[in-house]
């Protein structure tokens, strides 16, 4: 079942074609690795999918619907979650509040009930607290719940990142170099967490990483990008052994 | 022809705005923040020049003293205030510089409290020279303005020091890696900015006969508008063009001011100026560059 489909996307910026005729498909519950040289357009692709850039031509389909022109907020409400390359946590908020933000789309009360402090407000807040605690427990972060997110180590920040992203059970999760700044052990532990998330929440995951070895174990498929377009899409083993691609320096 | 004379009349103020615009632009390009104390340095230079002229010191010497004073104050504030707040965002630096300018203004008012307005003599008489009725002072201001524009452009574009300055303003991390002492270059440019402001102060001295400590604020705001219209923040990466742009922008503000004063509502020149700025920012907001980041 096709979850996300990108059809002939083109993005031109300052007279430079950054994304060229890009086709990309993600099936439900899949883990797809995205790899390529620097400036090949991987993060830009994420920006296009999540809505920070609008493509010049081409279409994006999510669960069959055309979401090309949707705003970032609307796409998030549809179930597309994303992390950013350099720290996508709110460093001045507590760990607990970070995850609470993750639940933003799923809390239902109006401004009026906030001001009047109606029963609905208190019920929803209680429900929120419980859900947040469950999520923190799942990632082993419950002891840090009142610490400022910026004070955590990179490894824990990465976990918090994911905790926030999957809080409302998104259908698609875009991870942009989440193991940046982690050492080898932390990175491998992180990959296990990704696998767990994928199994438990049935979330399709697209993962940008620089190290193909890291992707070997968990990705169902690896997609290679160069100069703004997809040049290969295959199982990780095949990509690794492909001589033609070996010349591209993955960085 | 009347309009031409009015425009020529405005050359003194226009050159003042132009020089201060240039000082602001250079300072902003090299250090990443707009140095608001230029307005107060302008006032200080006026008082210094007037003080020494009262003592019958020739005006050129007074000007040199004023330049020295302004340079020293500018560098001191840079070293002990601006450098310490640089690690925060650009906005914080701007707020700090606005704050410092208020502090200087208030210290000034405090010290000169008994004499808020100072009378001094227009040094250099106002002779008329031939063809169109152009005052001697207007001529001086115009010529110095043109000279600075030419000299500035050539200096920035063709000399080695000019190239270094351009490099530092574009990418100070790389220049540091190449062994250039960024701080010295920034101090040098700050010195030039202070010098320009002092020269503008001398223009004021030879033109007007009255000064008060509060004129700094409005003058710097108008010069800032001139600098912004001249391309501050947009034409990055081309310091030589910025030099020309800032000077022309500031000069244009002066001309515009005279036109509005004479042909439209008298007290409303500032409103027009600010509205023009608002419109300009509104139209161009997409093009503004953030220093360093994207």
């Amino acid at each position: 079942m096709v979850l996300l489909k990108l059809n002939k996307l083109n993005l031109i910026f300052n007279d430079m074609r950054i994304i060229r005729d890009l086709d990309f498909v993600v099936e439900g519950k899949e883990i797809v690795g995205l790899i390529g040289a620097t400036q090949s357009g991987k993060t830009v692709l994420f920006d296009l999918i999540s809505g920070f850039y609008k493509a010049n031509t081409g279409k994006i389909y999510f669960e069959g619907d055309d979401i090309t022109k949707f705003s970032v907020e609307k796409k998030s409400q549809l179930g597309i979650a994303r992390t950013f390359q350099n720290g996508s946590i709110f460093s001045e908020l507590s760990v607990k509040d970070n995850v609470k933000i993750g639940f933003y789309n799923f809390i239902n009360y109006s401004l009026k009930s906030v001001i009047l402090r109606s029963k609905k407000f208190f019920d929803e807040e209680k429900r929120l607290s419980d859900e947040v605690y469950n999520v923190l427990k799942m990632f082993g972060l419950e002891y840090y719940e009142n610490l400022l997110a910026g004070d955590l180590s990179y490894g824990l920040q990465g976990k918090l990142d994911i905790a926030r992203a999957i809080a409302c059970g998104p259908k698609l999760l875009l991870l942009d170099r989440p193991t940046n700044g982690m050492d080898k052990n932390e990175a491998e532990e992180f990959m296990d967490i990704i696998k767990m998330v994928n199994k438990k929440f049935s979330t399709a995951i697209v993962l940008i990483e620089n190290d193909i070895d890291l992707m070997m174990n968990i990705c169902d498929r690896v997609v290679v990008m160069e100069y703004g377009t997809v040049i290969a899409s295959d199982k990780p083993v095949e990509i690794k052994n492909n001589q033609a691609l070996a010349s591209i320096s993955f960085s | 022809m009347d309009i031409l004379n009015k425009l020529i009349d405005s050359f003194e103020m226009a050159s003042i705005y132009a020089l201060i615009s240039l000082a602001l632009t250079l300072g902003a390009n090299i250090n990443g923040m707009i140095n608001f104390i230029m307005g107060q340095l302008f006032v200080i230079s006026i008082y210094v020049i007037a003080f020494f002229c009262d003592l019958k010191v020739p005006i050129m010497i007074s000007l040199l003293v004023a330049i020295a004073v302004c340079v020293i104050i500018n560098l001191l504030i840079k070293k002990y205030v601006y450098d310490l707040v640089k690690r925060h965002s650009q906005m914080m630096s701007l707020i700090v510089s606005i704050g410092v300018s208020f502090v200087i203004q208030d210290i000034f008012v405090f010290v000169f409290r008994a004499n808020p307005k100072k009378l001094f003599y227009t040094v250099n008489g106002t002779y008329k020279s031939g063809i169109i009725e152009i005052n001697y002072t207007d001529l001086i201001c115009l010529l110095v303005f043109l000279f600075i524009m030419l000299a500035g452009y050539l200096f920035v574009k063709y000399t080695r020091l000019g190239k270094i300055i351009r490099a530092v303003s574009e990418d100070s991390e790389s220049t540091a890696l190449m062994g250039i002492d960024n701080d010295k270059i920034i101090c040098f440019v700050y010195g030039i900015c202070a010098g320009l402001v002092a020269i503008a102060g001398s223009f004021f001295c030879i033109t007007f006969s009255l000064a008060d400590p509060f004129s700094g604020n409005m003058i710097i705001l108008r010069s800032l508008i001139g600098a912004i219209i001249g391309g501050l923040g947009i034409v990055s990466g081309s310091l030589s063009k910025s030099v020309i742009g800032a000077l022309c922008g500031g000069f244009a503000v002066g001309l515009f001011e005279i036109l509005i004063k004479n042909y439209a509502v008298a007290g409303a020149s500032d409103i027009f100026l600010f509205c023009m700025l608002a419109v300009y920012l509104f139209i161009n907001n997409k093009k503004f560059l953030r220093r360093g980041k994207n």
């Binding site: 920070f52 970032v72 907020e73 998030s76 979650a81 994303r82 950013f84 720290g87 946590i89 709110f90 460093s91 001045e92 908020l93 509040d97 609470k100 933000i101 933003y104 009360y109 906030v114 001001i115 807040e125 910026g150 926030r164 | 707009i34 205030v81 310490l84 707040v85 925060h88 965002s89 650009q90 914080m92 701007l94 707020i95 606005i98 704050g99 410092v100 208020f102 502090v103 208030d106 210290i107 008012v109 405090f110 705001l221 912004i228 923040g233 509502v265 007290g267 409303a268 500032d270 409103i271 600010f274 509205c275 700025l277 608002a278 920012l281 509104f282 907001n285 997409k286 503004f288 953030r290």
Partner: protein
Amino acid sequence: MTKRFLSYKGLLLLFGIYLVLLIGIKSEMINFYWEGIFKLALINIILVVSLNLATGLLGQLNLAHSAFMAIGAYTCVFITRNLFFPGFINFLFGLFLGGMAAMIFAYLISAPAMKIPGNYLIIATIAANEIIKDLIINLNILGGSSGIHGINYYSNFSFVYLIMALIIIFIYVIKDSKYGRAIMCIPQNEMLAKSCGIDTFHSKLFVFSIAAFFAGVAGGLYAHEMTVIEPNMFDFSYSLELLAMVIIGGLGNIIGSIVSAFIFSLMPYVFNIGSELKVIIHVVIMILVIIFMKKSLILDYKRFLMDTWSDVKKKIW
């Protein structure tokens, strides 16, 4: 920090301070002169708290607050003089419409305000301030540069305190909810906030407008307290002082704003400092705070003290 304030303890504190001050006034321990100063302090609290909301949120410092105040003040005076209701009701209308007028102005300048990078926003807000001031000076129905005199005196202490308390309660009520959390996170990482589903544009607009509304109301209270208003009172130097109070109290820190507004409003009168010296001290403290601030936007005095205490302990041991 924020959660429990809304509990009974917080409300009790608000009410308690009110009683203390009220008893002081009624028993003549606090004379008329000081009562006026306290009222100005309360008005400043409203201004500083609302400015904190606007600046912390937009992640941009803005100097237009005294313009909003000016609009509110002049509108309120206009209403109280010309509307047909009995005195105090006029005043209520005046306050509300003053706030609305300021809010409308904020709305008008908010579209460019959000797109322009921080530096230029500050200059643009200075420009907006000057435009408002110049307009007031040039329009004769607004009294010109000599201002408006003989305004009715409606702002009694209890009323001003009530308005301030309502505003503070309102801000805390919003802060401790999903909207408050959304508002808090926007300046930290706007792209991330957007990708979480938060409509950053409208949130910023909302907060900016509300802050302007409160500033307008404060302006109305101010006008009817001073009984005289003139354009020079609303110079952007007042905005700068308010901003200094915000920064010293800590961006995003509401109790900090309240405390710093209170202290800095009272300080010049306690120490008999002239108005120039007051500004100097104020700004110097602000600059010192900025120099020593550890984190860029949000200042937490508790952590700063804890950090310095642990540094000191390390040196001793």
